[in-house]
């Protein structure tokens, strides 16, 4: 290839091919949904403040000194229903431990639907309301269920996107307690 025009044509071809490859790799790839870990890992947890269905005010400050598992949930989400037996088993195992707190936060749902589901399905752990979605936004949630592990001094050290198993929840708790 001695003529400069051929080099130019080759250059254009390479650039176009590179663009085509980049575009092809991006088709159907939602970077946010595909993101495997929370940006908040290792950071202080958001300073949330929610009112539970029982009328109790729960904030990050009120849970200081305890390993906290925060679970974003709602009444209509199928994966949340799949996760409920694991959450019930986990809650039963730790309900008498003063240094552990399990807090549900209602995400993208009405209070009445959440209240009905909690009653019908026998959910016993505190369920916080987040009507303006502020807590869900501050945690950078992308959907539900999502579960976060927070250390007694308020750092996020673990996350689980999608339904968590009992083993997942125990791992998150151990991480929050600094045992892993």
């Amino acid at each position: 290839m001695t003529h400069p025009l051929r080099w130019v044509a080759l250059g254009v071809g390479v650039v176009v091919a590179a663009l085509a490859v980049v575009l092809a790799l991006q088709v159907g790839n939602d970077q946010l949904q595909a993101q495997p870990r929370s940006e908040l890992l290792g950071d202080p947890a958001p300073d949330f403040n929610v009112t539970t269905l029982d009328g109790e005010e729960v904030s990050l400050d009120s849970l200081r000194g305890r390993a906290v598992i925060v679970n974003f949930w709602n009444s209509w989400c199928i994966p949340c229903r799949q996760e409920e037996p694991a959450l019930k088993e986990f809650f039963d195992s730790h309900r008498d431990e003063d240094d552990v707190a399990l807090l549900g936060i209602v995400r993208d749902d009405t209070e009445s639907a959440a209240r009905r589901a909690v009653g019908d399905r026998g959910i016993e752990w505190p369920m916080g309301l987040d009507p303006d979605g502020k807590a869900a936004l501050d945690f950078g949630t992308r959907g539900q269920p999502e579960t976060y592990a927070i250390t007694p001094d308020g750092l996020i050290v673990g996350t689980k996107y999608g339904p968590a198993s009992v083993e997942d929840l125990e791992t998150l708790l151990a991480t929050a307690r600094g045992q892993r």
């Binding site: 025009l5 130019v8 980049v22 970077q31 940006e39 908040l40 979605g133 936004l137 950078g140 949630t141």
Partner: protein, 149 residues
């Protein structure tokens, strides 16, 4: 002045005036609501496919709009608001890639392609101009005459 250049100059004048009019900044600062809406258009709705936070009706998009509005009213700069969203969701919350890192490649590739293409076009045009124009010789004309008769 070469009269053949006049139409090109007129065309350049019209294009330049149009671009200037379109790109010229409008007077007055936007209202907090308009400012917040413009910022929300920069962010991806985290739970939607290809929608901005300004265009989605999802709960998270609504919360994002309210959060942006509150931050605007509290006097935070655009850069601070962008950073607050990136801190929660990562760079992928931005609909337009930032002009650094991989984002620089995304912005730069079309420019490189344009420059390389324009260079190729100029080289090709110069090459075609250098080629001698074909003109009929006496022998060609005689051949045509013979064919006609």
């Amino acid at each position: 002045m070469n009269r053949r250049l006049l139409p090109w100059l007129a065309l350049a004048l019209v294009v330049g005036a149009t671009l200037t009019f379109v790109a010229w900044p409008r007077g007055g600062s936007p209202s907090p609501a308009a400012h917040a809406r413009a910022l929300a258009e920069e962010f991806r709705c985290p739970e939607c496919q290809g929608l901005s936070a300004a265009d989605s009706s999802s709960s998270t998009a609504r919360a994002m709009r309210a959060d942006i509005r509150e931050r605007v009213e509290n006097g935070q700069s655009d850069a601070e608001i962008r950073q607050a969203m990136i801190d929660r969701f990562g760079d992928s919350i931005l609909l337009k890639p930032e002009g650094k890192g991989l984002g620089l490649v995304v912005w730069g590739l079309p420019v490189v392609a344009l420059v390389v293409g324009a260079t190729g076009l100029v080289l090709a045009l110069r090459r075609w101009r250098r080629q001698p124009s074909a003109s009929a010789t006496d022998a060609d004309r005689a051949l045509v005459e013979r064919a006609r008769s």
